[in-house]
């Protein structure tokens, strides 16, 4: 509770003088009971005691989960390996939260405790029971960080993510400066930490919304149980999502206008001109870092800023989102060049394929083991349920004559992402991720639709309905979030096998794998270790269905020459079983066959993973992976320099314009309309000129 940056303590500790009053219809005086206690003190103490007890039960029962339990996971994922006591405890905490929410007196400390307990139980579950941090993509990102720390360069042709290396750069800088040699604990707890920082920003966002304090607490709790997408691991998306929420907090906190009774928002807060200027730089800096770190997030930020302006809820002028667009286009055109110059059709192929993106988001991911298919359908159902609750909340607010503008923008604006980007099916998941800050508040409005003034405490029937919904949401979270754990988990054996590879990668190694690369690959030595799937033109999983027939493995190792290894892991076996319909004992059979084959030697033998090399040396040269030229690379086209000059003019011009608006508190005097046009026409021409340069660079490469 004393941790000042932790979640809603941030807002809970706020001096009340800075905001309008939002207490839920309190009784005019505090009636004292015969024993001199405030009303509800006994109930509150009982809820505290029960909360602590349930948390203790959860932690103790999670401590009993063994590696054997995890190995016995079914298609339902982690939930199938957890003791019943843990699941009852976490559902109990959900019910306690609902009961605490509807106490006669709002108890912020109790609600905060239960909220943080929910974060730990739901988002820390894997970290509590698994010996190694999840999941393989986080290890891949560690490899990018390792490469920057060792060389100070990027490898833009190796992977698209290298075109947006901001997150990897700052991680490398902080790890090196802080002497962090083992970043695995950072990976292990990054999900819990990320969730707490999200909650802190969301708590500030909620201070702008005209909703009862109970509604605010429920919105925070809904955010925690609605974050089942699992994009909060050590990744650029997690980092830029934090930046997105903080960006919204600043935008809605200090660059909002309007608000008041019936608008859905509280009256905008004032700030001194100097302070607002500082915040403008912070806002822009946050956006620019997102531009340098992620492909998609900046465009969601631009859409949010532009729509809030169009809804007349932003003090910032239309030129600010224009400035943001120019910055994002500049990065894409110049520093992201290596990504798109090679595959223009791929990049723009995703544009406009809305139905295709939705269908592939749903159906492509639904194949293989029937139980696991149910998990995937549940995810679709859960997203629909959350959006349904949000629509219900919006409707109930309208019935109370509250015409929200900010919340619908936050909840439904991200739908534009369906029409863009070549994320393929994954875009549907990202859409839900970006909608969640708005969806969780509107879903809370479905239960607490009242504005802050005159809010009523719900009756017992409403409390019971909310308690049922809370238990359903927690259960849905457990399955949707950890449903892929059978093959997304990382085991100690896999790490041991890969450590062997890195220890023997002079001058280079090749690692042959099966399935969807569900093991911690590329954690270090990117330029020395190549990764090759089992070659097969027809089967996407590319492993022999009969595990006793290992001649294909031997042939693959021979074809990749000296210093090539075959890795077979339990998670790869689970991936083949659940996603490609392979038999359940495929892994054990394959390990037995490979271990008995005299043509191979087993260089690493653990229960979770085996690493194999050819027993007899093979002739030929060691294959060194082709990682492409180091970056960043910017090709000079005839208009490249002109673009840089235009950018150097536009950036200070548009930023200066916004600083002037702040100075005038967002007002444009009627007499100043003429001067407004004098600015707008040349600025628009410059922006068009710059965008023409961006297009010309695309065309230049398209014609190459």
């Amino acid at each position: 509770m004393t941790a000042p940056a932790g979640g809603p303590a941030v807002a809970a500790a706020t001096p009340a003088t800075t905001v309008a009053s939002v207490a839920d219809v309190p009784p005019p005086t505090v009636p004292e009971t015969a024993r001199g206690l405030r009303p509800g003190t006994v109930g509150s103490a009982a809820l505290w005691a029960l909360g602590v007890l349930l948390l203790a039960v959860y932690l103790v029962s999670m401590g009993t989960v063994t590696g054997a339990d995890l190995n016995a996971m079914t298609g339902l994922g982690l939930v199938s390996a957890l003791p019943a006591a843990a699941m009852i405890a976490v559902c109990g905490i959900a019910v306690l939260f609902v009961l605490s929410l509807n106490l006669r007196v709002v108890r912020p400390a109790l609600l905060l405790f239960l909220l943080l307990a929910t974060v730990l139980c739901l988002h820390g579950a894997a970290a509590l029971v698994e010996s190694e941090p999840r999941f393989s993509t986080a290890y891949l990102h560690l490899g990018f960080v390792d490469y920057i720390a060792r060389t100070g360069h990027t490898l833009p042709q190796y992977d698209a993510r290298w075109g947006w290396p901001g997150f990897f750069a700052v991680a490398a800088f902080l790890f090196q400066a802080g002497g962090v040699h083992n970043p695995l604990p950072v990976l292990q707890w990054s999900q819990v930490a990320s969730q707490l920082l999200c909650l802190a920003s969301l708590a500030v966002i909620l201070r702008a919304i005209d909703i009862s304090s109970r509604g605010r607490w429920l919105a925070l709790w809904f955010f925690v149980v609605g974050s089942w997408i699992g994009q909060d691991y050590f990744s650029p998306q997690a980092f830029t999502y934090l930046l997105y929420l903080f960006f919204l907090a600043v935008l809605l906190g200090w660059f909002r206008k309007g608000g008041g009774p019936g608008t859905g928002e509280l009256p905008a807060r004032g700030a001194r001109t100097g302070e607002r200027a500082v915040l403008l730089f912070v806002l822009l800096g946050t956006f620019l870092v997102a531009v340098a770190s992620h492909q998609l997030t900046p465009f969601v930020m631009i859409a949010a800023t532009a729509l809030l302006h169009l809804c007349r809820r932003s003090l910032l002028g239309i030129w600010f989102p224009v400035l943001m667009t120019v910055a994002a286009a500049a990065w894409l055109s110049y520093l992201g060049e290596s990504y798109w110059s090679g595959h223009l059709s791929e990049l723009f192929g995703g544009l406009g394929q809305i139905t295709g993106n939705i269908n592939s988001g749903v159906t492509d991911r639904v194949s293989g083991d029937p139980t696991h298919q149910d998990v995937l359908y549940l995810r679709v159902l859960l997203s629909a349920a959350w959006f349904g609750l949000a629509v219900l909340g919006l409707w109930r607010r309208r019935r109370r004559a509250i015409r929200d503008r900010v919340l619908p923008v936050l909840a439904f604006m991200p739908f534009f992402t369906l029409g863009m980007q070549s994320y393929g099916g994954e875009i549907a998941l990202r859409l839900f991720l970006f909608s969640l800050p708005g969806v969780c508040v509107l879903a809370a409005c479905a239960f607490y639709p009242d504005a802050a003034e005159g809010a009523r405490r719900p009756g017992r029937a409403a409390t019971a309905v909310l308690a049922v919904a809370a238990v359903l949401a927690v259960s849905g979270f457990g399955i949707a979030r950890y449903g892929n754990e059978t093959f997304e988990r990382v085991t100690g054996g896999e790490i041991t096998a890969m450590q062997y590879v890195y220890a023997h990668d002079t001058p280079a190694d090749t690692v042959v794998y099966v399935g969807g690369a569900e093991f911690p690959l590329n954690t270090q030595d990117t330029e020395r270790v190549g990764y090759q799937p089992m070659p097969s033109p027809t089967d996407p999983a590319a492993a022999p269905v009969d595990p006793r027939d290992d001649s294909a493995f031997v042939a693959a190792l021979r074809s990749y020459g000296p210093q090539s290894y075959l890795i077979i892991t339990q998670e790869e076996g689970a991936d083949l079983e659940f996603n490609n319909g392979y038999p359940a004992d495929w892994y054990a059979e394959a390990r037995a066959a490979l271990g008995a084959d005299p043509r191979l030697k087993q260089v690493v033998d653990t229960p979770d993973a085996g690493l194999y090399a050819l027993a007899a040396p093979v002739a030929g040269k060691v294959q060194v992976p082709d990682v492409g030229a180091i970056g960043p690379v910017i090709t000079r086209t005839p208009w490249t320099a002109t673009g840089v000059v235009l950018l150097a003019i536009l950036f200070p011009l548009l930023l200066g314009r916004e600083l002037m608006r702040i100075h005038r508190d967002g007002r444009v005097a009627a007499a100043g309309r003429y001067r407004e046009w004098m600015f707008a026409v040349p600025a628009a021409l410059l922006v068009l000129g710059f965008l023409a340069v961006v297009v010309s660079r695309f065309l230049y490469f398209a014609n190459q």
Binding site: M1, A11, P15, V106, S201, S213, R272
Partner: protein, 146 residues
């Protein structure tokens, strides 16, 4: 627990957005501020030593703490009208943004140097503190002049 009190919203119209406040006693608040300031000062000193190549066990840890919280504290100082929690949150993110801008600039310009990066963060923090001091002196002068 006497240092931390909960003030629920009953009977008051100043319950705050979350229906009450968690109030720290003045003594506890003073201790927290002193610890925070002390760690930041030690972090700044360690960062300077790190720039000049000195390495002990404590220097990297304190340097990391400075990189995470130092620039943010300077930004927080530029926002005197805001409540401490918002200043802390803004400072935390602003500090991360500054670290990221420095790291990304070194990467894009092919001038990667950890010591150089720490020096840049130190200089930026000093610049922010100077700007804050100038603003306060000018603000004070304007207020004094009526």
């Amino acid at each position: 627990m006497a240092a931390i009190a909960e003030s629920p919203a009953v009977g008051t119209t100043h319950g705050g957005p979350y229906g009450g406040r968690i109030v720290l006693s003045l003594t506890l608040r003073g201790v927290l501020v002193a610890v925070y300031g002390g760690v930041l000062l030690a972090g700044a000193a360690s960062s300077m030593l790190a720039v000049f190549g000195r390495q002990t066990v404590a220097i990297p840890l304190l340097t990391l703490l400075f990189l995470l919280f130092g620039p943010g504290a300077a930004v927080g100082w530029l926002l005197p009208g805001f409540d401490p929690a918002v200043r802390l949150l803004t400072g935390l993110f602003a500090g991360a943004v500054l670290d990221c801008v420095v790291a990304e600039s070194m990467l894009a310009l092919r001038m990667w140097s950890v010591r150089g990066g720490i020096a840049m963060v130190l200089l930026s923090t000093a610049a922010l503190l100077t700007a804050g001091a100038v603003a306060r002196v000018r603000g004070g002068a304007i207020r004094a002049g009526g």
